[in-house]
Assembly symmetry: C2
Homo-oligomer: 344 residues x 2
């Protein structure tokens, strides 16, 4: 197939550090090329890909400080002009390409990468409800399930986990909280649970600016304790080590996360997950087999910590390497593309 | 004619205070209705108009904190769906409607309201060079005059100046600087010139956040002087009084302002203007007749202050009331609309 992949321009593809969406677009693009497709990637300058690269901005916008509206509009215009060269257009940009109406000469499908539980997103989807969409989990659709939308499929993210993460042995025996220190990730609850369970906890992650008040009031007072180690933000190597040596990965989410990438990464190091039964989590892992999904309740979480030794670490890694592989993701999208082309 | 006016959604039409673009859209819309056209105004909730109002967002975005991309996309989609109801579409939104390509069933013309001297705007216009544009002054086009663009006309802004501003008598005898206190407006130069000319100066206007350093270093030290009165930001009544009692309106611009609305307003109170000969100013007023446009040079500006008594205040007011009237502006746009409809 001749496939256009349309990425946001904020960071290059692949991203040097953050940039969840751009990393997924990169993994998908590389895999589709490997599978013999002719792929054109619309992305910022500085991107590296085995597909044909259409540089829609000379530099990534985080670097140039460029106006996102201006450059994404230019990207969409370039896409529209070249649309007859493709069999399918796969956009990761949300609304902007939808303004083109019927000007594309190939079907256009959009992966929704964010949460859909805000009134504005609801209104937007209701207004543009004729565009085919892909969800990144079934749970992501829940807040808008009463709307008549054209969901083509759920396709779970895939990453090259085998290369990115080594199997760890859990020899540190501690719990690991590796995530943003935001209320919706529950770092305060995690620390309290660890102490009640009588376990050490290693806390790692950035404090987002908008959460500095929360951090000062709710988290910082808990950090001054011999069994709590706060180590700030980690790079990839650091995450690998801290997660791999943990007995359990404890991030008790307090929101309906549409796709919990961090949980997949922890499992790739062999470390079982403890979290709350909400959002995409019940789709991403099996309770009792790859960790424990419980109510957001201190006692239930403490109880889960005690049961960690019953989980087979090899099975955790094996499971995510297979289920969230680039190949699985690409297969999912190939089916979506084929169906939309057939309907066109 | 059946005309669509498409306004930004940040503030209502007309705006309660700021919002240059929305005020112009309001004036134009009211005048076109008065002239017998069937006008539909796409604008935020809270707008008041004698045209048919299509509320593209329930509230103005400055009030709701809504995402501008989301709501302007919804506005453009509503416009596209209704486009067969119009003979002409007049947009004040820049790029977003251009993404619709050929999906509009009426010609679409865009008034460019801002400066065009930044590299990003250049790139944007080059990419979308098939869309007809209206400039708000000939000077505005200058930075992109080498590009092959479809300029349909220059149409100067019109305002209901007769109702908004009373004739003042200049009895205060001072110079007035009424503008943002930003380097490109030259407040420091204005104060120095007033002192050299031996005249009192009244300084009024907000200090934009991004100019607070400039204000502290370059302007504040000059304010502590018996002949300098700094009175902060003014409402409409205050502007009327401060400008009307001034002997001269001294805002020595240090940039190529595409349309100097404040100068027109000062002239409407009868007060002659002193500024630098650049940007749109030579198009907006006549040197020696409505004030003085000189080089950005202290001595030249001081010299102009001394010549203020030679200017006829009645003539200043009469001139702008006629030249920048709602009727003149509407006539200009009617010609543009007719020409584009004929070409379509």
């Amino acid at each position: 197939m001749r496939i256009a992949q349309v990425a946001p321009l904020y960071v290059p593809v692949p991203p040097p550090e953050y940039g969840g969406t751009e990393r997924i677009v990169h993994t998908l693009t590389q895999e589709l090329v490997k599978r013999g497709h002719e792929v054109t990637l619309f992305a910022s300058g500085g991107s590296k890909t085995s597909a044909e690269l259409e540089r829609s901005s000379p530099k990534p916008l985080w670097e140039s400080g460029g106006n996102p509206d201006t450059w994404h509009a230019i990207e969409v215009e370039q896409l529209a002009r070249r649309s007859s060269e493709f069999d399918i257009i796969h956009s990761h940009l949300d609304v902007l390409p939808w303004l083109g109406g019927d000007r594309y000469e190939a079907p256009l499908v959009t992966t929704m990468h964010g949460r859909l539980d805000q009134p504005e997103q609801r209104k937007l989807l209701a207004e543009f409800n004729h565009w085919p969409l892909v969800s990144i989990s079934d749970a992501q659709r829940k807040p808008v399930e009463d709307l008549d939308l054209k969901w083509a499929a759920t396709v779970y993210h895939g990453l090259d986990l085998a290369r990115m993460y080594q199997a760890g042995d859990g020899s540190g025996g501690y719990l690991a909280f590796v995530s943003r220190l935001s209320p919706e990730k529950g770092p305060d609850l995690a620390i309290k649970v660890a102490q009640k369970a009588g376990m050490k906890i290693v806390v790692a992650g950035p404090v987002p600016e908008q959460n500095s008040d929360y951090f000062e009031k709710e988290v910082k007072p808990l950090l001054d304790h011999p069994d709590v180690e706060f180590i700030g933000e980690l790079d990839d190597a650091g995450k690998n080590e801290v997660m791999g040596k943990a007995a359990g990965f404890l991030v008790p989410i307090q929101w309906d996360e549409p796709f919990g990438l961090a949980f997949i990464e922890a499992l790739a190091t062999g470390t079982p997950v403890i979290s709350c039964r909400r959002g995409s989590l019940p789709e991403l892992l099996e309770d009792g087999r790859h960790g424990f999904l419980v109510d957001s309740d201190e006692d239930a979480l403490v109880d889960a910590c005690r049961k960690l030794p019953s989980i087979d670490r090899d099975e955790c890694r094996k499971y995510v390497l297979d289920r969230f592989s680039p190949g699985r993701m690409a297969e999912g999208y190939e089916l979506v593309y084929q169906r939309l082309i057939a309907q066109d």
